[in-house]
């Protein structure tokens, strides 16, 4: 058990180094959400004046949670791609042939994804600070949001990892990239649910990412956050369970079939 924790840490460190040494993995996690944030806050700030828009200090303050959500989803996808690349080049065989828990291998990758999620979260808090959209609930609020962001990146990484383990092909995991955007735009990450039209509104109401986005957003924009944070944690837990079940099944399938 103790060695498994050492292995998780070592594989997490490798995962982070791998991302920083391969800029094409890092770019989507930070660059895309930053560009989208710039475009949306520059072009759609008038949405603030729509009746029913939540009370916020600025459109940027509202959008920060969406940008973070996008970053962690892409981090999860990148983590899945990196794991699939490991499978393709046989690196996972090195890990599977070692006397460690197979879950430690997946957890190591998720630790790396969590660090990247934290980096992305801090980056967007910094952007908010620089461009006049600080966290309304101060440092405790920022830490709470960051905590949710890190947990989300781990469970989304778990989904990416399970697909990588099941398919063993980086191209397939990479092919999920557009779905990340579809799922995200069908949530309240970038726009208030109340102002959406059907059927997007109904989908957003049941989309777990909406619950997480609201949980991340609440401490940033201020107001009573306990309910939103609890709902976010429940959604993260649900996705986490699905990710765990998919990963376990994929690991067993890999051992049984050899590929």
């Amino acid at each position: 058990m103790r060695n498994d924790l050492r292995v998780v840490r070592a594989l997490g460190v490798r995962s982070v180094k791998q991302t920083f040494r391969r800029p094409q993995l890092m770019a989507p996690i930070i660059m895309f959400p930053t560009l989208l944030l710039a475009v949306q806050t520059g072009g759609a700030a008038a949405a603030l004046n729509l009746p029913g828009f939540p009370p916020v200090d600025s459109f940027l303050q509202f959008m920060l949670a969406g940008a973070m959500m996008q970053a962690v989803l892409l981090a999860g996808n990148s983590g899945g791609i990196a794991l699939a690349v490991d499978i393709e080049m046989g690196f996972t065989d090195r890990l599977f042939a070692a006397p460690i828990s197979r879950y430690a291998i997946v957890l190591g990758r998720l630790m790396g994804t969590a660090v990247l999620g934290a980096v992305a979260g801090l980056w967007f808090f910094l952007i908010g600070l620089v461009f006049g959209a600080p966290v309304a609930d101060g440092l405790p609020g920022a830490l709470l949001s960051l905590f949710l962001v890190v947990l989300t990146s781990m469970v989304m990484g778990g989904i990416g990892a399970s697909i990588a383990l099941r398919t063993g092909k980086a191209s397939i995991v990479q092919g999920l990239f557009p779905f990340v955007f579809v799922i995200l735009f069908l949530s309240s990450a970038f726009f208030p649910q109340e102002l959406m039209v059907e059927p997007a509104k109904t989908i957003a109401q049941v989309n777990p990412l909406s619950f997480i986005a609201e949980g991340v957003r609440r401490p940033i924009i201020g107001g009573e956050s306990a309910g939103d944070v609890a709902a976010a944690l429940a959604a993260i837990g649900g996705i986490g369970l699905v990710a765990f079940w998919l990963s376990r099944s994929a690991l067993r399938h890999r051992l049984r079939t050899g590929g």
Binding site: N3, R6, V7, A10, L11, R14, K17, Q18, R21, R22, D86, M89, G90, F91, D93, R94, L95, F96, A97, A98, P99, I100, G168, L255, R256, T257, G258, G259
Partner: protein, 321 residues
Amino acid sequence: MPAIVVEGLERSFGDLWAVQGVDLEVSESEIYGFLGPNGAGKTTMVRMLTTLLLPTAGRASVAGHDIVTEASAVRRSIGVALQEAALDPLMTGRELIRLQATLHGIPRRDGERRADALLERVDLADAADRRVGTYSGGMQRRLDLAAALVHEPTVLFLDEPTTGLDPVSRKTIWEEVEKLNREGTTVFLTTQYLEEADQLANRVGIIDSGRLVAEDTPGALKAQVGNPHLELVLAEGSDDAAGIICEKFGKPLPAKDGKVLVELERGAADVARVVLALDEGGITVESLELVEPTLDDVFVAKTGYHLEIEEDEPEPSEAGQ
């Protein structure tokens, strides 16, 4: 106690049988060469013995542990260098060996010390802090071998360790394998190179279409297929007369490339007598060569075809079906 015991081991992928009813035993401190062409089942066998793949039927134990029910104990006892050097091109050589040490539960300081020693041993100390992606094929294989040794395994599995390497790199790997074996490590080596099996292995198992078709020491296997033969290049026009003389010493073989061939019943002991008899018959011998049977002859005798080397044709897996 044998280092590896395999009884009726089988593995199928759908309708395709990659390994069929293989039985074998490898003694401690032995180098066992598993010889066969691509797609014969060598890699599938190694993947089962290293716990990376479950068998369909049969059983096997490695270092005294069952590969299915005691997989973790097997993994603690073995070192593995698979067919494609499974290296992360973005890591440095030193990082990889240290990670491997962590995977095997070696304390950090010990791991660092062993990594330094192993990098020195495989002559990669100067390149230790370079990314693996910048290494040559031979350097990558040596690094892979070093990584497999970090926990001092009792049984080492090498899956085609020299495929695609230049002769110098190949020789370096051979020397290292022989050295490891002298130090007491049991080596299970798959190869498609006849020369490699002949040079390194104490015993050779020949696998074809998933079945073990022959198994013995290289010398005994070669002895099974016949005696050495003499290849003679003679002065023009004397082949028929020479054939009649040579018949007295052994079975004539079909001529090849203008050479007269005769299998010698007494091997090298007959060479001088053949030359003398030809000389007495007025036949000038321009050159001669005594050719021992090779493992290729054994392979042909057992399978009906020559072992031709093809690079990197993958063995089946269910995912690839």
